[in-house]
Symmetry: C2
Amino acid sequence: MKKPLINTVVIIGVGLIGGSFALALKKAALVERVIGIDLDSKNLELALKLGIIDEASNSLVAGLNQANLVFIAVPACSIPDLIKRIISHIPLGCIITDAGSVKSELVNVCESLMPPGIHFVGGHPIAGTEHSGAAAAFATLYHNRRCILTPTATTDQDALNIVTALWQAAGSSVEYMDSLAHDRIFAAVSHLPHMVAFALVHAVDRSAEEEENIMAFSAGGFRDFTRIASSDPLMWRDIALMNREALLDMLDRYSMEFNNLRDRIASSDSDWLEDFFKTSKRLRDGIS
Amino acid sequence: MKKPLINTVVIIGVGLIGGSFALALKKAALVERVIGIDLDSKNLELALKLGIIDEASNSLVAGLNQANLVFIAVPACSIPDLIKRIISHIPLGCIITDAGSVKSELVNVCESLMPPGIHFVGGHPIAGTEHSGAAAAFATLYHNRRCILTPTATTDQDALNIVTALWQAAGSSVEYMDSLAHDRIFAAVSHLPHMVAFALVHAVDRSAEEEENIMAFSAGGFRDFTRIASSDPLMWRDIALMNREALLDMLDRYSMEFNNLRDRIASSDSDWLEDFFKTSKRLRDGIS
């Protein structure tokens, strides 16, 4: 029988992300025991009942002194304070890793909180569904998905190898990336589009106060286009706060394009508009 | 046997929209004969071969003198010039209707070009696919879709009733709407989102010149979100030109929301951001 790679994994935040990670490790027989910690005791009970975790702990500290690996799957802004509260209970040699969707500032803070002999590895699995909570977790969430790890000059190589192996066992393709590059890339392809969608929903709602039929016609393409505006507000608040610099840079680049387009519409610049829309189509069709 | 409602329908522009309208009328046995006119002679041959039209005409004028109804399905900006070229060949009593996705300015111009005894009815079927040309046409494109007609004080009631009956026979639910209200509504729920998507694709492409991995990560949510940026550039040029006033008003409302969001991110206003994203989610989830 294959020996589990990790004896005790502690999952903090047993929702879609944390719960699916636990199920994937269990399925791969890479973990002996999973302890779950969650502020929501009903969610924790459910996770136990569903076999996502082997033991539940309502206290942040209980169970941590046996942890070989701690997986933190809570909103990004909460992670530094959480680490401050648990770090004195973490045994030497333990690995702490996370699933936060912003990395640069977060990784810097987390690394600064690690005492010698406890290893932090920043991670961002590119996976999710529109559902949340332990009930939404499933073992194959990370299959054929990418997981980005953001090692730094001080990252422990053995810890990085272990976290890499766990994500690979969960079915993901692991990529290493500089944390600043990560944040710039996701500011462009994810955070900016979300901000645009949030603003768009507000603007259309304001207009609907004046033009009664607007909402009746919003059921078509508008609904599909703005689906991402329905994402978790607290997660997006944290992303906006923790990826501020890269996000502001992208917001301003986008504003330049948008304002230019606005002015060309105002001046009825037919040739420019045709060219701009043709280029848009070519660029969009070029995305594999 | 049920008598056809219309003897001769002339379709100008036998693509997805014009071709599907012809097929739907034939299927409903509401038309005796369909004549197709198209600048693209290969497309016209195909339409004949596929049974979409009964006769093909490479000339704009041929066939028009027998028309009882002319359906214009060409880009909106081309419609006024097209009408100027054909109007002297249209027999008295004929109805001219269109499928342009902007209405106010277009309907005003078209009505001003009608001699006494020829009746214009502005229309906008809310239907389409990502494909174009006669090959893409099918008889059920308009099934369970809405078709907006924009009658004015001078619209002939009998002509309006006939055009209504044809769209209903094609499977659509017909709604009458003031043409200015139409343009304001579609500026909000369709034209603004398209402009946003066009600008977004440009902004991300500019950033990709500096950050090589951006396009590699654009295959996920970004691709779905920007699908509408792949729409027909010429159609969107015409919409931007012909719905300028209502569109500029919406672009500016949206900019206010977006710039406000940008400033709150810059000042790390956590409570405001949480509230803004929560409201976005509530508004978006409220769309049926």
